[in-house]
Amino acid sequence: MRRPAELLRFTRGERWVHRTTAILMGICLVTAAFLYIDLLSQLVGRRAIVEWIHVIAGICLPVPALIGIASKAFRADAQILNRFTRADWKWLRARYRKDGTLPIGKFNAGQKLNANFQIGAILIMLGTGLVMRFANHWPISYRTGATFVHDWMAYAILAVVVGHMWMATHDPHALRGMRTGYVPTSWAEREHNAWVAREVARTASNPAEQRPTKTG
């Protein structure tokens, strides 16, 4: 079976969802730092407008993914990210993950954890953020509780986002996959062996899906 040099990993729609979500998350984290860290607050001032940007970006954060539901590829990937196989649990416990003994689908268990954590985190931040923003509609103790959750969750998100970016920057092929949509098949065989097997079979039976030879 002939193998293409590259495989389509993310469609244009999926990359748009990822990019807009990343930008909005970045805006939330940066404005949060300006609101939360005294030194930066003093440097920037303009508290009302920084707060406004933070709230707007936060409310918009789930929107790209909701729009993404219209994309078939996005829905298919969401389905994969949702389901943890026995191989995923083994992967999480495994010491050597890339020696080919574990079947790894389009996403490994770590990527699944990251995606699901971010969904939960974005929804928690949205809920607690709305309690804080529209504080008058809630008992005082809920306001304090929402602030407590929002603050600690922000640190958890920061840690996971930094970890995600660290992993991405240490894997240029993965990074290019999210930027252009395509990954080298050789890379995918190392990282996502079970996915490659499926994709190669599928694209071989349907040559129209293969990447054009020359792209910008």
């Binding site: 699901n116 103790s141 509780g145 603050d151």
Partner: protein, 264 residues
Amino acid sequence: MDHPDADQPNELRSDGLSPDGVASDGLASNDPGRPVGRRIVLGMLGLGALGVVFGKRLQSAESRALTPIETRDPTGLTALVPAGDRFRYYTITDSEPQRSAADYQLSIGGLVERPMTLTIADLEKLPQTSLIKDFQCVTGWRVPGVHWSGVALPDLLDHVGVQKGASALTITSFDGAYTESLTLDQARRRDVLVATQMLGGPVSRHHGGPVRLYVAPMYGYKSCKWLGGIQLVSAVVPGYWEQNGYDVDAWVGKSNGRDDAPTS
């Protein structure tokens, strides 16, 4: 949807996958898996909701544990930990107001016998009052046992002489935007200070220095930072936050829908 194991390349089966796609160790390549992702999301939402309901108690416990460390932390790193009793910095203007102690002037006017402008040296010549009291913000944080000193507002009012007909004070910040209000009765309390000292030193710029107001029994927004002027007026003019929905009579524990312990 085609089943992946139908044409799985051989090398993926080299580790003991039997022809039916099930590995000897139970790893099925067509294992549909369980919806763990959904459980993670729902579990997080559940924990988040519990955190909202019980967070206040957790935060109090955390603050009790952290405050002794925070007040002695020379690095300031504990300020990055959520909760903990520490000052949070707020300003309503684009940049931080700046005035040196040498340039500082407090103007007092309106319905007074002797309108005047006071320098820090002038303020220091007046009777000095010291207090150790908590600072409670309406957003929830509280700094216990803050040391304040300066001129008690009633002493200052006696110094300038209040005219008949004055019943309130309009307080302005030299940031050019912030205003506050007090009734004359409130301003005559001994626990309301024009503070020149705070936390054992001159009031720092970040804390509203060189001179700020400290209204001990009320929420922090009454304690105008970067104090610039005091006008005696005939009726209360609501201040900046009060025009934005906060209570004019901002007694700690008895206003703004809050139940904090009184500070004074």
